[in-house]
Symmetry: none
Subunit: 204 residues, 4 copies
């Protein structure tokens, strides 16, 4: 961290420092978006958190939206991975445990990346590229859930909409809980979500 090491003449640690600065900005962005939301976050908030300057910010990101997109892409990867990890749904107790475990992963991911997920589904930025990225990721995620629901859905249930409804529930409940609007233990939330989803597919 001692900056005095890279003395004038020598470039020193080729681009390691740049990567570090970029990372600091990404982290700061995550924090800032979490605290105030995408729109209310100022570039100033980000650079202050990152302990850099405005000039530096624009060295790494073309604008605020690009910072957000970079963050969003990290989340997109994580969500895609998570989606593929959902195994077949089964009525058995074992199936239910598997479901519960997956839901726990979803909640953990939301815990890490909630603000980003939240922001990209906002209508406010729905018109632009980032909104589209968000929609795509969510659509992708929902498609996987859909496939699993379809395998077991009773004939009177529209698997497409049901999958969407379940994803909606997962996302929004996490939002309520993480934004502190309600006071619920994460564990109890995971239990209940598993119970409700399992129940709605296979009965109580």
């Amino acid at each position: 961290m001692d900056r005095c090491l890279d003395r004038p003449g020598r470039p020193a640690t080729p681009r390691a420092r740049g990567q570090l600065t970029r990372r600091k900005l990404l982290d700061a962005g995550g924090q800032a978006f979490a605290a105030k939301g995408y729109h209310a976050t100022r570039v100033d908030d980000v650079v202050k958190l990152a302990r850099t300057s405005h000039g530096t910010f624009y060295l790494y990101f073309a604008n605020k939206e690009e910072l957000f997109r970079a963050l969003a892409e990290e989340v997109a990867t994580a969500m895609a991975d998570l989606a593929t990890s959902l195994g077949p749904l089964e009525p058995s107790a074992r199936g239910r445990a598997a479901l519960r475990s997956w839901i726990a992963d979803v909640c953990a991911l939301y815990d890490d990346y909630g603000p980003v997920i939240r922001a990209w589904t906002e209508a406010e930025i729905g018109g632009n590229e980032v909104g589209r990225l968000g929609t795509d990721v969510l659509t992708q995620f929902t498609r996987v859930v859909y496939r699993r629901v379809e395998e077991v859905a009773p004939p009177d249930l529209d698997a497409g909409i049901a999958a969407l409804a379940l994803v909606a529930m997962l996302e929004r409940l996490n939002y309520y809980v993480l934004s502190g609007q309600v006071d619920v233990a994460v564990d109890a939330m995971v239990d209940t979500l598993a119970r409700v989803i399992h129940g709605s597919l296979f009965g109580a």
Copy 2:
């Protein structure tokens, strides 16, 4: 306060025009928020839609937030009314039909007031009074659902969280659908929601 001028018979001009203008601004606000979201909406958008002037806007509302709050209060009333209209949940086909009908009402309300509901639960304006109003209304709404769920919940289900999860699902699915991010018929959505909720409580 009865002025001698507005005698019965004469059109009651006194306050009528003002109220009309206020209404126009409120409606315009609803439209604008729906179209561009709370943050992206400019006071200018609102007055253009309402076909008035900037000055007039500030005659009726101190700022954009106050306009939003006024709108939010209308929604709060509507939601409170809707909440009380939820009857007991029952496993019977009749009970399910009643539930479906209530859900249809919820979706209709969301159709009318969606953008406001959406905006007030966003973290961006969560720090202020409006955010609190939103939280309060949603809490109130959830409480009513909670009471009904509690009456019939199987012992292995936490009625409080379940009620929250169901409200989350209702709200977020409507959001997905109304924001055009996915393409689903309202009727099918209502069916599925009724099916999922009923199923999760009483089995398939």
Copy 3:
């Protein structure tokens, strides 16, 4: 005050009511200027104090400045009268008593009209008509003082500047005292002013 007396068909008390309204506005203006100063006073403040409407205001005065000018003209008259009432200055005890009495009148006038006097000497409105009116009145007033000073001034004293200095002292001390910036009894102020002025002309 019962407005219902002037029934539609009859004009009733020809223009008495108008004069009353005008007076109310003038008084309200005086109060408002006193409380917040000329610039910070809004037409709205005036009409609220006068319990009338904006429309009515502009029925009687072309604008805020005209209201001020009307007020200023009242003061101008009073000051001109006061100026002529200053008798010859004399070293005797009797002369000093006469001076004291005149100063008491000046302070009383300042008590009544202070805010107007204050406002018109402000540089802020010095460029316009009102400022000129103020300057004229003050010049006139000073001229009278000048004549009396000249009659008795020792040769080493420039009567013109001395007169100006005395008027300045009279005006500003009253301002300090009336604006509440310092806490001094009016009587003591009058005594001291008489003493200082008399002393500066005739010795202690």
Copy 4:
């Protein structure tokens, strides 16, 4: 906080430019207030005089009032210094010369900072912090004069009020003269003030 970049030898660019801009704004403010008065001065006038942009202005001052306050604080310092430089008052010719010299300093200060002094004693901005600062400085200034007057005041003279009256005369006469409302040479003004003040204390 010592950054490795600004090593001794390199021009100390870091803060210098900013300070210069701030200074330019301060000076421009002084000019603008002098020319149009506090209320009539627009932020726009200031930035035009300083040859900067609106944005830059708000980088250094939160608003017009803050700029004024900064200016006022400079004046406050100068006035406090001036106050302490007043020596004992003496009836002798030498004492009178000393008094005259001090008055000359006061008038010079008023020449430099007149508009600020003028503005802060106005009722218009008297309700806020700046007004208080002005009152404090003037009170402080008066207190020093008071001490000197008290040392020599004849028993029939209230030294407190007399000091106030003298300060009032100094301030207001300068105002009349500098605002161009009357046409008086500064030298003659200083002479007359010295004569009047000396005379009022020690006789002609």
